[in-house]
């Protein structure tokens, strides 16, 4: 305490702040308060007597935080699942995703208890492995509940086969992937964004999945809640892509907000009454032309709407078929659905009113704050940039517009193989050389200095060449 007192004199720290801390710290042992205050004062007096106080660097009260909160991403994700209507969570423990289900259970024990009976209105199952975890989540969704699972890289690898089933049989399911350092067991306690390629195209055959990329706890909360609506609306897996840094560390975040008027979007589910009015129902009939068929929940109607859900090839009436025409038709309809998703999915965040500069930078997830800071550093040197933050996959049209509007686009990501760049190049058919990678994959969160330095170097290197493209 003597040391703290001396330091406070040197840095000109407000005296009352320290006194308040002592009071709260020793609230249970009030006898110690005057003793500590005395020690504090001894330090102050010593410093003042022996040094020129205060030093040129000072501690000053500021209000830059405003109403921001501090929270771990995984807790916000768990809470997002509650607000998103999840009642079933199945999981297998793995760092760094464990606290997602922990958060879900904690909040569910407060928010999802029957007021009259005290009974739990949710289920958490610690499955025998990740295959079972996602199988349970899929079974719950198939039966009308909102179920999810949370995992990290090794678990996602195991879940591939089931993800393909959910894609092809069109069963909603939500998965949270808290990414860690790969490959294999990799660096379980380090961060990376290196599951993107696998998540986007998980499972054999032609498959693709909806991904969301939150960048702070507020978005962990919002994207997870939204994921359940998307999964139901589009009848497909939705993967929330966070990472160890966002999930397990405390982050400053805007407060979580929820509109109590909001209704869940359960998508196209037919009730018994609706089934009675439908002349010819087919589980995989594209009635509305948006690629999204109507589904039924088991137990709904005594004689209508039953079907055999299967991952084998099926016709519009869910009957097994290996007929080429039927197969191509159903695969093409899944693509129509994919286009629908593309048009409706949340937009990227664009950081300028209009594109003004020749350099654009693209980032997502936990790279966001370092990237924004790097933009400031570049600006100080006269290098001005436009920026776009990817929030979802499939990519909405505005991402291609952004890329087209710039001569050079830096894609910043936390993996070795430029996974996001690969998907951008492939899905948007842009020239690979137009996208220049800034990659950090040492397991530590990417820093503004690193981004700044790398962009600067890459720009210098291109001056000697006529063009980047």
């Amino acid at each position: 305490m003597v040391y703290v007192g001396a330091l406070s004199a040197l840095l000109d720290i407000e005296h009352q702040v320290l006194k308040d801390i002592i009071a709260s710290e020793f609230a249970k042992k009030p006898k110690l308060i005057p003793l500590n205050e005395y020690a504090l004062q001894l330090g102050i007096d010593y410093a003042k007597k022996n040094y020129a106080c205060p030093l040129p660097i000072k501690v000053e009260r500021r209000d830059l935080i405003g109403d921001l909160i501090v929270m771990e991403g995984n807790a916000a994700t768990g809470l997002g699942a509650i607000y998103g209507g999840a009642t079933v969570a199945a999981w297998y423990p793995i760092t760094p995703s464990t606290s997602v289900v922990g958060g879900f259970e904690k909040y569910a024990n407060k928010l999802r208890i029957d007021k009259e009976t005290g009974a739990k209105k949710f289920a958490v199952v610690q499955a025998e492995d990740e295959l079972a975890a996602i199988g349970m989540a899929i079974g719950a969704n198939w039966n009308g509940a909102r179920g999810f699972t949370a995992t990290s890289g090794p678990g996602l690898s195991l879940m591939n086969e089931f993800l393909g089933l959910a894609y092809f049989a069109e069963i909603p399911v939500v998965l949270v992937d808290v990414q860690r350092g790969g490959p294999s067991t990799g660096m379980p306690t380090r961060t990376q964004q290196s599951d993107i390629l696998m998540a986007a195209y998980a499972s054999h055959g032609d498959t693709k999945h909806v991904l969301l990329f939150p960048c702070n706890p507020k978005e962990c909360f919002e994207h997870t809640a939204l994921a359940f609506d998307y999964a139901d609306r589009y009848q497909t897996p939705v993967i929330v892509m966070t990472d160890l840094d966002l999930g397990m560390n405390e982050h400053l975040s805007p407060p979580l907000v929820w509109n109590d008027e909001r209704q869940y979007d359960k998508g196209k589910v037919l009730s018994a009454a609706q089934l009675d009015t439908v002349a010819k129902w087919g589980r995989y009939l594209d009635v509305d032309g948006d690629g999204i068929p109507y589904r039924t929940i088991p137990g709904t109607h005594p004689s209508k709407g039953s079907f055999f859900t299967r991952g084998s090839s099926h016709d519009e009436f869910a009957r097994y078929t290996e007929d080429s025409n039927d197969y191509v038709k159903s695969m093409d309809r899944l693509n129509v659905k994919w286009e629908t998703i593309k048009n409706e999915i949340i937009e990227p965040e664009i950081y300028q009113q209009k594109n003004e500069h020749s350099i654009g930078i693209i980032f997502f997830g936990t790279t966001t704050y370092a990237a924004l800071e790097a933009m400031d550093l570049l600006k100080e040197e006269g290098i001005e940039t436009d920026a776009l933050r990817i929030t979802s996959f499939p990519f909405s049209a505005s991402i291609l517009e952004f890329i087209d509007a710039h001569e050079t686009v830096f894609v910043i990501e936390q993996n070795r193989d430029a996974q996001m760049k690969k998907i951008l190049t492939q899905e948007l058919e842009v020239h690979p050389k137009k996208l220049v990678s800034v990659l950090n994959y040492d397991g530590m969160p990417i820093t503004a200095n690193y981004i700044h330095k790398t962009i600067e170097e890459k720009l210098k290197a291109t001056i000697s060449k006529p063009q980047l493209v």
């Binding site: 009642t87 079933v88 295959l131 349970m136 079974g139 969704n141 088991p298 137990g299 005594p302």
Partner: protein
């Protein structure tokens, strides 16, 4: 060719208490090999549900992958079914159960689906005392992939290629008893007088009910020397017929329900 059976039927077919005829418990025409044991089990399921006055839409049919796992298409057309992935039906059934515990869960699987790739999930479903009737259509081989030995093939049993199996069989009933399953039975697809009462008992049972049904594969494992052939099983009927009775011990229903 259509696999949909004609809806037309005789107006005087007997009905059950719910007013349904047996036809209303049937499925589409089977595409399995003529004589496959699995078809007899499907017929026994139809008969059991009819006799038990079960509302078809209150049943959820769950299966994995294999000839056996295709059978839910061949019974209870008015029930939802789920042909999941190989060996993973127990997890899907568990999740479905968590969403709605009021349905009657009927799982069908094969010996490959349950005793090899799906062993982990089967064991854990038993451990959790999942409320399901779980029928293993046990032919000692992988029918769908052309007859390789399965883990339930008896040591010394000769398969169609003439080779005797070297390994000891996994006895699913023994395993289930060891795990504390609350209903365990073994039967034979060719003995409906035994199989139907067993299915009815299993469906009345709350908790995990396993019926291991020896169900010969006529195409790949019905040869002389196979211990899962019709001839062999009929000759050894007594052994099959004397199943043990596992006393029902009330276990807490570990599975919670969420709606």
């Amino acid at each position: 060719m259509t696999y949909i059976k004609p809806k037309f039927h005789h107006p005087e077919l007997p009905t059950n208490r719910l007013g349904y005829t047996k036809k209303e418990y049937e499925g589409v025409i089977s595409t399995l090999c003529a004589g496959c044991g699995h078809d007899s089990i499907s017929a026994a399921i139809v008969q059991s549900c009819f006799e038990m006055n079960i509302e078809p839409h209150k049943v959820a049919k769950m299966s994995g992958i294999g000839c056996s796992s295709k059978t839910p298409a061949y019974f209870l057309s008015n029930s939802h079914g789920f042909n999941s992935v190989h060996g993973r039906m127990p997890s899907v059934a568990t999740g479905a159960n968590l969403a709605n515990c009021d349905l009657l869960y009927l799982g069908v699987s094969g010996d490959g689906d349950s005793a090899s790739i799906g062993m982990g999930q089967l064991v854990h479903a038993i451990r959790r005392n999942l409320n399901i009737t779980y029928i293993v259509m046990n032919n000692g081989c992988y029918g769908l992939t052309k007859g390789q030995d399965s883990a339930t093939a008896d040591a010394g049993s000769i398969n169609k290629t003439g080779i005797a199996n070297e390994f000891n069989a996994i006895d699913l009933c023994g395993l289930a008893l060891e795990l504390g399953a609350t209903f365990v039975a073994r039967s034979f697809s060719g003995d409906k007088s035994q199989l139907i009462p067993l299915i009815k008992a299993a469906m009345s049972h709350k908790g995990f009910a396993l019926i291991d049904v020896v169900s010969p594969c006529v195409t790949f494992n019905n040869n002389t020397g196979s211990t899962k052939s019709y001839d062999y099983v009929r000759e050894h009927m007594e052994a099959v017929g004397t199943f043990d009775y596992a006393p029902y011990e009330k276990k807490s229903q570990l599975i919670m329900t969420a709606k």
